[in-house]
Amino acid sequence: MKNLKQHIINTEESVITITGLYKSFDDLQVLKGIDFNLFKGENIAVLGKSGTGKSVLIKIIVGLLKPDHGEVLVLGKHVDQLKTKELDALRLRIGFSFQNSALYDSMNVFQNLAFPLTMNIKNLSKGEVKDAVEEVLESVGLKDKLKQMPSDLSGGQRKRIGIARTLILKPEIMLYDEPTSGLDPVTSAEINELINEVQQEYNTSSVIITHDLTCAKNTGNRIALMFDGKFLKVGTFAEVFDTDDEQVKGFFNYNFIQ
């Protein structure tokens, strides 16, 4: 399977290019010079302990936060310089899976999934909406949960519905914020599997934010190790962790002793 994945990655074409990215909140410096490339079809796992600014990084990619300094090119567009309309058009091509799923808790599963679709594409028939919802539910393996409220779902199911909700707009880029946090190992493994399936089925390029080594190893074609607002190392899992660097080894040991 890993081999299959290597084939679809196109290292000629970058979908996200970030250079010299800085971001701070008041006195707190969070990002201190991030540079990286996400190739078309690639999954990159950004690994780092909590509070290093991983979420801030993907929120900048999708335009929820503005960079202080640096260049953020997503699908060829400078995210921080777009007008509202252009930004919305770009966002339709990006899926964002939130750390706590962020399902609309006043709506049931069907309404959650249909909402982004009906709000963005006018004049869809009821049948078309239903088909699209069922298709993404099928992709995440939760076809029977149509009428449930988010509060009645388990953590893993909420994550899946959250992912389904972004898939319904057929994104080219997926951004996952801690997809396995708060889940048991078995459910985590299922989510990792799902992330890989999404990459294959929907032909997406993804950034997977995580502090979970297993998740990074199983979903990332490349791994970016983030430390104190910077990328310490970027490469395959072996390249990153085959090292004598104390900080890197510390992170590795910490994760596996736990």
Binding site: V62, R91, L92, Q99, A102, Y104, P116, N120, L169
Partner: protein, 264 residues
């Protein structure tokens, strides 16, 4: 290391926060007027929210209105009896309820029930990132959540206030009817006898202002909630306190202005 952003307080932290807070609230309100007249209008959501507002407060408003009517009549009767002027009771009640009590009671109840629930709802949507989720799906959360709710309170609360006045007058009628023989029709006729067009316009205008205030304050506090679940409670609480404060200030100002207009 280069620090790209250093910031110092202009006066002091407290005063800076106070003035930037006012500025933020102003920007928020201005954004409402900018977005309210642009497509898409989300009419169905506005109607939904109107029902929400109505259903949430209808029972309490009915009860309170009714009791205010009865109690106010009971309390006023002895004073008028001293002058042998109990026949003025309906007019007095009419003025008190239609011009002052109906709108004010409704506004305060809605500030408590509707304002706090808007603050809590949007606050929890903010801290659980549901608002961000809308934004990244290219849906304008300000339009979908804020504009619809403010529209709904601005439409529904005047209607509720009108309803409250009628219920209060009915409560009053029951008390009056127990003591004197008067038909409900002539009671309402008497109640409205001293009310002129300016009074009605002022009362309706007042409730529109209150409705807008309750909606925009609840949305503002909820939409800008921070600090996780604690922030949700804070948003709901502050929404009520601030809305009630503003309602009293507006009441005084509107009464003053409408009294000036009376002499033109």
């Amino acid at each position: 290391m280069i620090n790209y952003k250093t910031r110092k307080y202009t006066i002091s932290k407290g005063l800076d926060d106070y003035f930037t807070g006012i500025h933020k609230a102003y920007i928020f309100t201005a954004l409402f007027f900018k977005e309210a007249f642009k497509r898409p209008f989300h009419l169905r959501e506005v109607i939904n929210q109107c029902f929400e507002v109505g259903l949430k407060s209808l029972a309490l408003i009915s009860l309170t209105g009714f009791i205010v009517g009865i109690v106010f009549t009971k309390q006023s009767r002895p004073s008028l009896e001293d002058f042998g002027a109990t026949s003025w009771l309906p007019s007095l009640i009419g003025i008190a309820i239609i011009k002052a009590l109906g709108p004010l009671v409704t506004a305060l109840i809605c500030a408590g029930k509707v304002g706090s629930s808007i603050g809590a709802e949007l606050g929890s949507m903010r801290v659980t990132e549901q608002i961000d989720a809308m934004e990244v799906s290219a849906i304008n959360p300000f339009k979908y959540l804020v504009v619809t709710r403010v529209m709904a309170t601005t439409i529904a609360i005047p209607v509720l206030a009108l309803y409250c006045s009628f219920v209060a007058l009915y409560g009053s009628y029951i008390n009056v009817h127990a003591e004197e023989t008067v038909s409900i029709i002539s009671f309402y006729q008497n109640a409205f006898k001293t009310i002129n067009f300016l009074d009605i316009t002022t009362a309706v205008f007042k409730t529109i202002v209150y409705g807008f205030t309750i909606g925009i304050v609840g949305c503002y506090k909820g939409y800008n909630a921070t600090q996780g679940t604690r922030g949700v409670g804070k948003a709901a609480n502050q929404a009520v306190v601030l809305a009630m404060f503003l309602i009293f200030v507006e009441e005084v100002m509107i009464v003053q202005v409408s009294n000036w207009m009376r002499y033109f």
